[in-house]
């Protein structure tokens, strides 16, 4: 077999796999509706405001409820030492009374 035929077959196969993955994404999105709806209902029922991504510290478990200075909240020299703190930056909002 010519090298080019071998290479084009390889690229064709990889493109076919990529197309299957795109198809998988579309099917999963369509099928994930029920799970999403039940989770949203649970969130509404319990009035939750955060996702359960990181359970290691209060401010990473509920980042939307945390302070911007959350990493330093325990004492003035308490530097950020949780790995998840480097994956999620602190919230940039704070509404202070005028």
């Amino acid at each position: 077999m010519r090298n080019s035929t071998w290479f084009l077959t390889l690229i064709g196969t990889l493109l076919a796999i990529s197309s299957l993955l795109v198809l998988h994404a579309a099917i999963s999105r369509a099928g994930g509706g029920a799970r999403l709806a039940s989770n949203r209902e649970l969130l509404r029922r319990l009035k939750l405001s955060d996702l359960c991504l990181f359970t290691e510290a209060r401010y990473t478990r509920h980042p939307a409820m945390a302070d911007r200075h959350a990493a330093f909240q325990d004492h003035p020299m308490a530097l950020e030492h949780f790995p998840s703190g480097s994956l999620m930056s602190p919230p940039d909002f704070r509404r202070e009374a005028p």
Partner: protein, 378 residues
Amino acid sequence: MNRRIERHRNILDFAISSLLRRKGKNLSLLAVYAFIVFIIASIVFFTQALKREATLLLEGAPDLVVQRMVAGRHDPIPITYGDKIAAIRGVSAVSPRLWGYYYDPFTGANFTLVASDDDPPAKESIYIGSGVARIMRLTTGVHWSLRGAKGTPAVFSVQKILPGNSELVASDLIQIREDDFRALFDFPLGRATDLAVVVGNKVEVPTIAAKISRQFPDTRPILKSEMLRTYDSVFDWRGGMVLVILSVAVLSFVLFAWDKATALSAEERKEIGILKSIGWETGDVLLLKSFEGMVISLTAYLVGVSVAYLHVFFFSASLFEHALKGWSVLYPRFGLTPVIDPYQLCVLFFLTVGPYTVATIVPSWLAATVDPDAAMRS
């Protein structure tokens, strides 16, 4: 037309033979290149899917959450604040939220306790998330003793385990009755952790938040849009660990390109000289070298992106697990709904395939423009 295609195929044949002559070097190049694409594509897939999930899920979150601040710290809020907030024009409902954390000294895990009057468990019973059941090895009907605020144990019966597909929302959750919650934590009557506010017209939410801030200077309202924005910053490229990963990936890639751009081996120069001396045009040589670059970069891109998709959506991003888990004992096991963002993939394509192909062509062009005799002797 056929002649032109045949000419290009012949050059492609030659390019692949040329790559196969340096099999070891090119295969290792392909592997590292594919790995870099895999890492970046995994972050892109994971982040996009998580952000989409957060946006869709947090649609069910309260429009506003009002916290009370005392000396700069979050403090239980008097429920009477809720009555006054409910009187603000535009507010549909205000309900107190009772939630807190429970640290289990035996496992070292932190759980989130939530009291809700909507479908509450029976007296002295709890609903638990799948993560809690997994780590505490609990099943429905068994009893679990929690240590109360006064040091006395409080025994609860596990009435229900929340479904496994709700781990992204409730993995570490323990749902408890309000009176049990107050008794367990000795939580003062007339106070709540914070207040959830429902606003009829969503456009008015910022105005109502400003009114609450003015009326209750010791409170801090948090808008739903702000909760959503918080999750926009997950895996933000400026974040510590992601910045490190991206820097390593980009620097490795620059190193590749630099190696390619500067270190055209003597053997490759000689090869170009021979090709020119037997009648190849400069354009043919450039086409040959761009095909060599494309064979490597296109294969690496397609392999890297496909494996990244499998990694994130079939194997739950297991390589990121240690980074996500951190020091936490309870790690939620959640599957994400796949999201493919064509824009991000196109950017990744042009940032990887383009520069590499250019880096392959430039030194070859320089070598191809010199005299064949000089190139062969170099």
